[in-house]
């Protein structure tokens, strides 16, 4: 099964807009390929300002260059993408901070959920096309979350396992609307299609998605353990 493009609406390569990007991946061939695909600044608006191939160098390069977006591989020598996220937590701010987009061959639920909880703003697989990747990078840079259908499925799954929590955990649950939005993403709808379907604006869709992402990052350890146990991941 091929991971399709995350469905989004942000215009790629708006004239004059650029995003500074750091590539983190332990395969040089892959970094070279991605750089060749998206790094033509005049055409794509992406400026690759640094590369790293393990956790140590990634943390250093990110701290030095302060890029807009880090393309982060999930499996890295030295502790993996989650470790990079943990050690770079201080650089992630709501406004103007460094944002992380996970880019991995893995589509295992624990990898995806792991980096999202670690603070990544989105997750795409390496089968993504160059154009879609550029799109995703700009959406991330704008502060949105990138939910591929598969990620939406994992999130629904994670929250479905904890569907009947006590009342005081209401904060962490998905609202009906958020669930609807996620379901439509999982069904392959683009954000603007979702907006049309639910009679809301694209901005509202994006805010729902961001809310889901925040809840996913905030949902407590107890829930995560239960979810992982239910899937025999631990």
């Amino acid at each position: 099964m091929t991971e399709a493009a995350p469905t989004g609406v942000s215009p790629a390569g708006e004239p004059g807009r650029t995003a500074r990007v750091v590539l983190v991946d332990d395969h040089r061939m892959f970094r070279t390929g991605v750089r060749a695909e998206i790094g033509r600044t005049e055409a794509t608006g992406i400026d690759v300002v640094g590369e790293a191939d393990d956790v140590e160098s990634a943390v250093r390069v990110v701290a030095e260059t302060r890029p807009d977006v880090v393309l982060l591989d999930v499996h890295l020598p030295g502790g993996g993408g989650v470790e990079v996220l943990r050690r770079s937590a201080g650089l992630m701010g709501e406004q103007g901070g460094v944002k992380f987009l996970a880019l991995s061959v893995s589509d295992a639920a624990e990898d995806v959920i792991g980096v999202i909880r670690g603070g990544a703003r989105g997750y795409v697989t390496k089968t993504i096309t160059g154009t879609d990747l550029v799109n995703a990078i700009f959406r991330i840079a704008d502060g949105d979350a990138v939910f591929s259908p598969r990620l939406a499925g994992f999130v629904l799954d994670a929250f479905a396992a904890t569907d009947t929590p006590p009342v005081d955990e209401d904060l962490d649950r998905l609202t009906q609307r958020e669930r609807e939005v996620l379901r439509l993403i999982a069904r392959g709808y683009a954000y603007k299609e979702i907006a049309k379907q639910l009679f809301i604006s694209v901005k509202t869709v994006e805010s729902h998605v961001s809310a889901v992402l925040r809840k996913l990052q905030l949902s407590n350890r107890h829930e995560l353990t239960r979810w992982a146990t239910a899937r025999r991941l631990v």
């Binding site: 999982a186 709808y189 683009a190």
Partner: protein
């Protein structure tokens, strides 16, 4: 039913019958013994069963795996090979019943049964009782000795049965040819019994060499008995005067034939073995060839024809590799191919459609549930919908989303093709109407086909799981 080779006295008839009927084996044995005395019917029945019923691996070992011996009203586990043989003989020497009975049994065992005599205990309440050889009272360990005695007793019972049969047929035991007939009977029993054993051994090959000697002894004894019985019978019938010359002549002819035909027979025997091996190999090769032809060769031909289309070649190669791997390394998975949960089933469907039509299909599944009849129908409908999306969806990725929520299973199949209006589909096109809408309706679910908001078509399949 099958005759049971484990824990048997003679041919395993009683054992097999007991397992078949679900009765304790001792009851069956008592019944046979009683019938022996009812004009020898028991003997006839036993012989008939022995003749007709094959010795079997079809029956599971009694009462789950180990062999069970009935001792003092309780079943205790015992090894099927215990009792008899050297071990049993030694035990009996040291045992209370040692002395000449033990020795006699030992000798008879070696002569008649061959080495490690099959079968343990079961003597209690069995023929041994009736035959009056006496049974030990007690512990499981003693059933070893009883095992040998039991077999001996069974043979004795057979003899008695045959005598009773002859009596019933109005043949006085006093008549001189009774004993020769008896000898023939015992000889035949021995040879048959050995035939069973060798078959049993071929299935569960224990150490061959050791047992083979015993087997030859037994067959030899049986043949000897039959021959002697026949000669004695002829002699008592009055043709005794000529018997000497007849035997002489026969032996001479036999020797001549052996000398002449012997080498050919030997060669033939060897050829037979070689041919059998070759045939088995050829069969295997034919099976592999058939499979390779059906799949690999077929695919290679397709690849040659479409060499200029790398996408297609890739697709074919991938599908073929998956299939061949499965066939080679996980044949049991092919056999039990039917997946037993919704997610597995849908994954298989999607993989197959993806391979066959070369269109990427993105699958997202939330939750899972076991398959039932309705879900199976839903999966078939989903398959048809996915195939349609792959065929008419403009080559873009097809999105399949399935969710189990409570008892409801929803499947969405979406493509980004030109879209179509279900109402304009001609009457004779059965794909959507029958395979999707009709199938879902017949199985108590609903299906909707509608245009997606931004182009393309979405099929929605909703089904309640059946009550379990």
């Amino acid at each position: 039913m099958y005759r049971s080779p484990q824990g048997r006295m003679l041919g395993g008839v009683a054992h097999g019958l007991a397992v078949h009927l679900g009765l304790p084996v001792s009851w069956v044995r008592v019944a046979f013994v009683l019938l022996f005395f009812a004009q020898g019917i028991g003997g006839l029945l036993y012989a008939a069963f022995w003749f007709v019923v094959p010795i079997g691996i079809g029956e599971p070992a009694q009462r789950g795996g180990t062999h069970w011996v009935y001792v003092n009203g309780a079943f205790v586990p015992a090894s099927p090979w215990q009792g008899g043989g050297p071990a049993g003989a030694e035990l009996s020497k040291g045992g209370r019943r040692g002395g000449w009975i033990g020795r006699l049994r030992e000798v008879l065992q070696h002569a008649l049964q061959g080495e490690p005599a099959v079968a343990a205990g079961d003597a209690v309440g069995g023929p041994a009782d009736a035959a009056g050889t006496g049974t030990g009272t007690g512990a499981a360990s003693r059933s070893q000795r009883q095992g040998g005695l039991g077999q001996l007793a069974a043979l004795v019972m057979l003899v008695i049965g045959v005598i009773a049969l002859l009596n019933a047929l109005n043949v006085q035991t006093a008549k001189p040819y009774t004993w020769p007939l008896l000898a023939i009977g015992v000889g035949v029993a021995l040879v048959w019994r050995q035939a069973d054993d060798s078959r049993w051994q071929r299935w569960f090959g224990l150490e061959e060499g050791n047992r083979r000697r015993g087997a030859y002894t037994r067959v030899g004894a049986g043949v000897l008995l039959v021959v002697a019985g026949t000669i004695a019978f002829l002699a008592t019938q009055g043709s005794g005067s000529t018997i000497g010359s007849v035997v002489e002549a026969s032996l001479a002819v036999l020797a001549g034939v052996l000398v002449l035909v012997g080498p050919y027979a030997l060669r033939m025997w060897q050829d037979l073995g070689a041919e059998r091996t070759a045939r088995i190999r050829a069969q295997e090769r034919a099976e592999i060839a058939a499979h390779v032809h059906d799949s690999v060769l077929h695919t290679l031909t397709l690849i040659q024809r479409r060499a200029e289309d790398p996408k297609e070649v890739l697709r074919l190669a991938r599908a073929q590799e998956r299939e061949l791997r499965l066939w080679l390394y996980r044949p049991e998975a092919v056999a039990e191919a039917a997946p037993d949960t919704m997610a597995e089933s849908l994954r298989a469907v999607v993989a197959e459609v993806e391979d066959r039509h070369g269109v990427p299909v993105e699958l997202v599944i939330v939750g899972d549930c076991p398959m039932d009849e309705r879900i199976t129908a839903q999966m078939q409908a989903a398959r048809e919908a996915t195939v349609n999306a792959a065929k008419y969806g403009g080559g873009g990725p097809v999105q399949v989303y399935a969710e189990v929520e409570g008892r409801t299973v929803m499947v969405f199949v979406r493509d980004h093709g030109p879209g179509f209006d279900p109402d304009t589909v001609p009457e004779d096109r059965m794909g959507v109407r029958e395979s999707i809408l009709g199938r879902m309706k017949r199985n108590g679910g609903t299906a909707r086909v509608r245009p997606a908001p931004d182009g393309g078509t979405e099929v929605e399949l909703e089904m309640e799981r059946s009550d379990d």
